[in-house]
Symmetry: C2
C-alpha cells in the first residue's frame, strides 16, 4: 500500500483558532489525494487513537470543513493526556502501532502545546525503535505562547486581542463611574507560568488612548506594598485604575495569591480566583470601590474577536504540516518566523521536535517594565502584529455566530479488543 492515511488529533486546552489549523490540514490533504488517503481524526485527541475511536473526516462536507476556520474550540474533541516514555509505558506505544497498522496510517499530525510536542517526538521515534514507518509532525497551538523556536504560537494572538480589548472596554466603563462609584477594576487572566496573556492587558493603553493599567505577572514576585502604592498613585492621577492579574501570581515563597484558604460559613474549603483576592486587598487597604471579572474560558474561546494574523497563521500551520509530510519530513514542527514588524511580515519555518519538546519560553525580562507592573516598547512591538486584523465569523438572523458542529462519523473498528486508557 503506497498511499497512507493520516491521523490528526487536537491536544490540551483548546483555542479560538485550533480548528483553523485542522481546516488548513484537511483542506490541504484533500488536494493531495494521490499521496494522502483519508484523514482520520482522533475523537478526544490521542485517546481516540488508543481506543481506536477515529473520526472519518472525509464524511464532512467541503462547507463544514471550511467552517472550521471560523469555529472556536476543538471540533474533534481534545484531551489532557500525556504519553509516558517508551520505557515506562510500552503498552501504549504498541497499541498506537496496532491502530496505525490496522488503519494504514502513515502520517501522525499532533496539534498542541509543549506536552504534545513531546508525545509527537516519541511517536516519531517509534519508526526507528519498532520499524513501523510513521511520519510525525507537530502543529503548534497554545494560548500560553510558551513554545520555543517559533516566534509565537497560534491561539495566543486571539487571546491577546481579546484581553487587550476587554481591558480597554472595561477601563472606559470604570472611568465613567469613578467619580461616585467603582474606582478599581480587576481582570483575572490565564497563564499560570508565563505572563504573555497578562502582558496583553498592557496593550489596552496606547499613546493615543492612555489608560492606567497595572499588570501582575507570574514572573514577578508579588509585593503587596509596592502594588498598593502604584494603584494608589494611578487612582490619584487618573481617578481610576485597571488591574490585569495572571492566575499564576505568587509571592516570593511561591505561594499562589489565589490560594487563600477560603472557607465558607460551614468551614468548607472554597476555591476562589485571584481577582477577588486582589479586589478585597484594595478594599481593605485603600478603601476604593471595585469590580472584578474572571475571563476564564471566555478568553480562549472568543472566536468572535479573533486576530486575523492568528487565524491566518493557524491555518498556515495546518497546511504546512501536510506539506512537510509530503516532503518526507519526520519529527518536525512548522514555525512562525517574523521577518518584519512594520509592516508585519512572517514566513513559515521548521523546527526539529527535539528542540521543542519540554522547553518553555518565558517572557523575556526586557518585555517587563522596570517597576514590574507594565510592559516595555519591545513587548508592544512584539505583541501588536499578533493582534492585528479582524476575522469575523458569519452571523445568523438571530445575531449569533454560525459555528459548525461536525457530524463526526466513526471509522469502523478493525481491532477486536478494547483498550483501556489509564
Amino acid at each position: 500500500m503506497a498511499k497512507k492515511n493520516a491521523f490528526y488529533a487536537q491536544s490540551g486546552g483548546v483555542t479560538a483558532v485550533i480548528n483553523a489549523s485542522a481546516c488548513g490540514l484537511i483542506e490541504t490533504a484533500r488536494k493531495h489525494k494521490d499521496k494522502i488517503g483519508k484523514v482520520y481524526a482522533g475523537r478526544n485527541g490521542i485517546i481516540g487513537a488508543l481506543t481506536e475511536d477515529l473520526i472519518d473526516t472525509s464524511k464532512e462536507s467541503v462547507k463544514d470543513i471550511a467552517a472550521l476556520r471560523h469555529t472556536p474550540s476543538g471540533a474533534f474533541g481534545s484531551c489532557r493526556y500525556k504519553l509516558k516514555s517508551l520505557e515506562e509505558n510500552r503498552r501504549e506505544y504498541e497499541r498506537l502501532i496496532e491502530v496505525f497498522t490496522a488503519h494504514n496510517i502513515g502520517y501522525f499530525f499532533y496539534n498542541g502545546g509543549g506536552d504534545s510536542a513531546d508525545t509527537c517526538l516519541k511517536v516519531s521515534q517509534l519508526s526507528k525503535s519498532t520499524g513501523y514507518p510513521i511520519q510525525a509532525i507537530h502543529i503548534p497551538k497554545t494560548v500560553d505562547n510558551d513554545l520555543p523556536v517559533t516566534d509565537n504560537c497560534p491561539g495566543f494572538g486571539s487571546v491577546a486581542k481579546y484581553i487587550a480589548i476587554s481591558t480597554r472596554e472595561a477601563s472606559f466603563d470604570v472611568a465613567s463611574m469613578a467619580k461616585t462609584s467603582t474606582k478599581v477594576f480587576v481582570l483575572e487572566v490565564m497563564g499560570r507560568h508565563a505572563g504573555w496573556i497578562a502582558a496583553a492587558g498592557g496593550m489596552a493603553s496606547t499613546d493615543d488612548c492612555e489608560i492606567p493599567v497595572v499588570i501582575l505577572f507570574p514572573e514577578v514576585n508579588f509585593n503587596k506594598g509596592k502594588f498598593l502604592k502604584i494603584v494608589k498613585e494611578k487612582v490619584n492621577k487618573f481617578g481610576y485604575c485597571s488591574i490585569v492579574v495572571s492566575e499564576g501570581v505568587h509571592d516570593r515563597s511561591g505561594k499562589f495569591l489565589a490560594d487563600q484558604g477560603l472557607k465558607d460559613a460551614f468551614g468548607h474549603a472554597q476555591l476562589g480566583g485571584v481577582a477577588p483576592v486582589i479586589a478585597n486587598m484594595i478594599r481593605e487597604k485603600l478603601g476604593y470601590k471595585y469590580h472584578w471579572a474572571v475571563a476564564d474560558y471566555l478568553q480562549r474561546a472568543a472566536r468572535h474577536i479573533a486576530s486575523r494574523s492568528d487565524v491566518d497563521q493557524a491555518y498556515a500551520m495546518g497546511k504546512a504540516a501536510v506539506e512537510l509530510a509530503l516532503k518526507g519530513e519526520n519529527s518536525v514542527m512548522p514555525t512562525v518566523v517574523r521577518t518584519s514588524n512594520t509592516p508585519y511580515r512572517w514566513k513559515i519555518g521548521k523546527a526539529n521536535l527535539s528542540r521543542v519538546a519540554n522547553v518553555e519560553k518565558m517572557m523575556p525580562d526586557s518585555f517587563i517594565s522596570r517597576d514590574g507592573f507594565g510592559i516595555t516598547k519591545r513587548c508592544r512591538d512584539y505583541l501588536a502584529p499578533l493582534m492585528q486584523g479582524e476575522d469575523y465569523p458569519p452571523y445568523g438572523k438571530d445575531g449569533m455566530p454560525r459555528y459548525v458542529q461536525l457530524k463526526k462519523v466513526a471509522v469502523k473498528k478493525k481491532l477486536g479488543k478494547a483498550f483501556k486508557v489509564k
Copy 2:
C-alpha cells in the same frame, strides 16, 4: 433670549451604546442651531449640573462626536446619584434652577434607567412649581432591560448578544475538553432583580446548534436538589453542561447564593461571586471538574460585539429626544415600539414619565420554561431581534478598536459659590 441651551447627562451604570444616544442627541441638536444653542454635558452626570461642572460639547469635533457612536461607556462621566423629592431636598432643585438660569438652559436631557426617569420627572415638574421654563426629556438606557412601556431598553441588546455568544463559545470549549477534563462551565452574569441578561444565555443554544444550557434566574427561587438533578441529566446526555447564573439568584428565604459568609485563612470576610459558589456545589455533590467565569463589566462594555439593532436604537433615542423637545414636549421619554418580529421592524413611540418612573419590568412568566431553568420560544422571539446585526468599531494597526476620548472642555463657571453634593 428665545434660543435656549441644552443640558445632557448620563446616569447610572453605563453601557456599550449609551454614547450612541449622546451621538444621536448632539448630532441632531447641531442640525437645529436655530432653536437649540449649545449642548452642555454634565461632567459625571447630574453632579455636573449641581456643581456647575459643565462640558461644552461644541468644542468637540464633528469626527469625535461621530466616534461616540462606536465608543462604549459614558464619555462625559456618569454617576449613581438620585435626587430626593422636592420636599426632602429643595436645596438641590433650587441649585439646578440656578445653574440652568446662569447658563440659559431650557432643555434637560437625562440618559438613564428607572432612577433617572424619576429624577427627570421631578425636574420636569420644576417648571410648574418654580415657574422656570424647562423641558425635561428622558432617554432610556439600561442593560437590565427593566424600564416599562418601551419594548426594550438600549444597552440590553448588546449585553444579550455578548452573553449569548460568550456562552456558545465557552460551551464549544467545554464540549472539547469534557472527555478527560472540564465537564461543567459556570458563567455569572449581571441582573440583580430581573433575569433578562441571564435569559440571553439561553440563546447560545438554537435548533441548528444544540448546547446544554441551564439558567439560574433571580425570578426563580433556587432549589439545590432540582438544580443538581438537571445538571447531572445534561452531563449524562451531552457529556457536559453550561450554567448561566444571575448574580441575583437567591433561595426561598431571599438569601443571595453569592452571600456565603466566606472567610479567608485569617478569618477576614471575603466577597466572592455566585459563580464559584455554584462551581463548588457541583464539585462537592456531583464531582465534575468545572471552570467558572465572571463577566462583570466586560459584558456591558463589550462594544466590539455590540448588536446593530441596539446601536441603531440607542442613536435613534438620542435623536428622538431632541425632536420631542423641538415639538415642545416635556416630561416624556422616547420608546421602542416593536411592529414585527420577522423581519424585525420597530418605530419610535413616546411615554409619559409618570408611567415610567419607579416601575420595574420583570421577565414575564411566559418567558421562563416550566422547569425554571430555560427560556421559552416566546422569549427567543423577543430576544433574537434585539441581538440582530453586528456594528463593528474601526480598528487600528495595533489590532485595537479606536474608541474616542473626548477633550471635555469645561464651560466657564458663572456662579460664585460652590455647591457641595451630599
